[in-house]
Amino acid sequence: MIPEIGHFTLLISLVFATLLGTVPLIGAQKNIAAFIHLAKPLVWGIFALLSISLFCLAWAFYFNDFSVYYVAMNSNSALPWYYRLSAVWGAHEGSLLLWVWILALWTLAVAIFSRRMDEVDVARVLSVMGIIAIGFLAFVIFTSNPFERTFPSFPVDGRDLNPLLQDIGLIIHPPMLYMGYVGFSVAFAFAIAALLAGKLDSTWARWSRPWTLAAWGFLTAGITLGSWWAYYELGWGGWWFWDPVENASFMPWLAGTALIHSLAVTEKRNAFKSWTVLLAISAFSLSLLGTFLVRSGILVSVHAFASDPTRGLFILIYLLIVIGGALTLYAVRASNVVSSHRYKLFSREVLLFVNNIFLVAALLVVLLGTLLPLVHKEIGLGSISIGAPFFDRIASYWVIPFAIVLSIAPLVRWKQDKLSRLKGSLAPAILITALISLTVYLTFNINSFIHLLGVCLAAWIFAMTAYELVISRQKTKLPLSHWGMTMAHWGFAALVIGVAVTQFASKEEDVRLMPGESVSLNEYNFKFIDVKQVTGPNYTAYKGSFLVTRGNSEYQLHAEKRYYKVQSNVMTEAGIDAGLWRDLYVSLGENLENGAWAVKVHVKPFVRWLWLGGILMVMGSALCIADKRYRRVLSASKGQI
């Protein structure tokens, strides 16, 4: 009964979405007040209906209703309750339901927080989001219904959740990621609504900014979590593989990062309007493209989602309508946009635009690198692989100009400035850069030019950004958004130094160890104590204990090799001692003869800085959103009610 309710509300929400996608839009074009007023109630309706739907699916999981096919395939009565709930988004169907629910959530947020905006404009925005919802709801209902029953006969127990997903990282990673992907639909809807209305002034940019920042923050958090999860769960000690699915999340991130910066210019200086609109369309289009790439199975990826050409075809048609339609609208309407604002070559406008050029160039590399193997094969040239060696090389060239622009742009004035005015920053920045770089260089003996350059660039960004903060604070009391920017830029610096040091100084050793034997790596001595058999709720495991010593310090590490009975799957759980300056990492490989084990031990300096960078960027975006100027918008809207 409960699943049927969920299915029913899902169907009704499609009806509501169809109304939302048409009626208010017609109302806005023809100026029919009654149609316009309908937008907000419909948004509330869709949100309520989809919440019920999601709740019903969660209910079926919690109470082990294996007559629901999706539950039977992705859960098991032995699964702990928290994984039973997160299993809701553990596979294709349920994760799509989460996707549309999050879309409804963002739409509702726009409806609530845009009271001060012109009602007609809000109706247009909500209506565009309704159109987006129609496609996804139809996709869920017609190709991927999570409420399908297995009647007349149903299994006694379920086939269990993929063991890879039975982890805290995977409980929160997908919702964060989807919040980011779907969040870009708000900026997209604002841009489309502005194009439809022919009102491409800086107003839409002002309204889009906090939403874009929020979506970007969530996406950054989602990607950071995903990377952290892969690091400890896959047992290879890697954190980014340039896999098509990772690239699919990285592309909207790059577009979103560019968008945040160009929105600032458009809002404050009324420049680059056409470009900013294109970025707003691109960020969400790339999110949709990612969804297509992940779920159609047209690319080879480690993160295999159930793939199916019918589903792929459905999303492709949807992409043609939404992306094709949006870009065509852009091509037709953006020609009317004239930016009257003027600036000189050395100005913050131009530097922010250069930042955009590099971000979008990086985006093009990732996009081409992801899609070219497909094209290469389809035109008969055979299969190729584009992976880490290629992307790493490009990234190491790319970061040089990008870091330089990033470090000076915040110091440069709008409209026009003189290079000589930056002279004051040079002495302190060079001093700090030299100090940091020298310390890192001496500690790790970095004799590779490109890695040392990475360290210098990171230190340089840190120094210049810090200098800018100090200088600006002397003049005025800084708004929160300024702190946010500084923090996010430090986050980027942390990421760069993390990549450079980890890549250069990480050491690993593949060894055969008997209990009692040990291996040394750098100054650390890893001693293999023993292996015990342990039992978890739905798995049995070998648990290897290691004692790592260095001088007088001792660390206990426990690495597991788990066997999940239901899916007869073997998972590794790495043993990690995490630290700001280095991680010690052990994973168990094969069980060899005579009680010996194949063991992988790593010492990974600075690896935490990668995720620290991500966290700083997320905090930065949070500070920007918390800025007074946006709260003023909100309180003013409350005052009006």
Binding site: S282, F292, P309, L316, Y330, L371, L374, S383, E590, L592
Partner: protein, 189 residues
């Protein structure tokens, strides 16, 4: 001109969509074997059952031959044995290349006597399609052939050129589609 450039994004997207559409109906994991239309590599390997006997590339020449890379540990190989035995009865020359399980070889070691016994029993049960079996001891021949797992099959012409390749089991459908026309071409001559 100024307006045309605004159409670049939508044009690029539509062009990409053509490939997305094509991609939906092709399998990205289906990677063509690099040795197709190239000569069969040289080798010098023992017979699986009589290790004192050694085979070379020349022993495969003279008529169209199907080379089947297989092992008793491989489940799919079992599936194709009966059909391949039928092919042998139809006059197709099939030579086996015995491929050990690399993990077993790496972590616990291979016992040749045990392998021979397993092979004997399995071929007795499911049918023996092979004229003889080459024992690819260190799997070097398989690596030279670009083999990614068992079973895999290669069709070579009388001069030793590789003219067809199959990853996975061969059944009636696959044989008629990919191999039979080529075999007919040579046997007709």
């Amino acid at each position: 001109m100024k307006h045309l450039k605004l159409f670049i994004p939508v044009a690029a997207f539509l062009a990409a969509s053509v490939f997305f559409y094509m991609g939906l109906f092709s399998d990205p994991t289906d990677v063509k074997n690099a040795n197709l239309q190239r000569p069969m590599p040289e080798f010098s390997l023992p017979d699986l059952m009589q290790p004192e006997k050694t085979y070379h590339r020349e022993d495969l020449l003279g008529e169209v031959t199907l080379i089947n890379v297989w092992g008793t540990w491989c489940v799919t190989c079992r599936v194709e044995l009966p059909y391949m035995t039928k092919l042998r009865q139809q006059g197709i020359k099939i030579v086996g290349v015995y491929y050990d399980n690399a993990a077993e070889a790496e972590f616990s070691g291979i016992n040749l006597q045990q392998t021979q016994a397993d092979v004997k029993q399995m071929l007795a049960n499911l049918g023996n399609p092979f004229v003889f079996n080459i024992y690819d001891k260190d799997r070097d021949l398989s690596l030279d052939l670009g083999v990614t797992g068992a079973p895999e099959s290669f069709l070579i012409d009388p001069e030793g050129q590789i003219i067809a390749h199959r990853r996975g089991a061969i059944d009636e459908r696959v044989w008629q589609r990919d191999f039979a026309p080529l075999v007919a071409q040579y046997q007709g001559k």
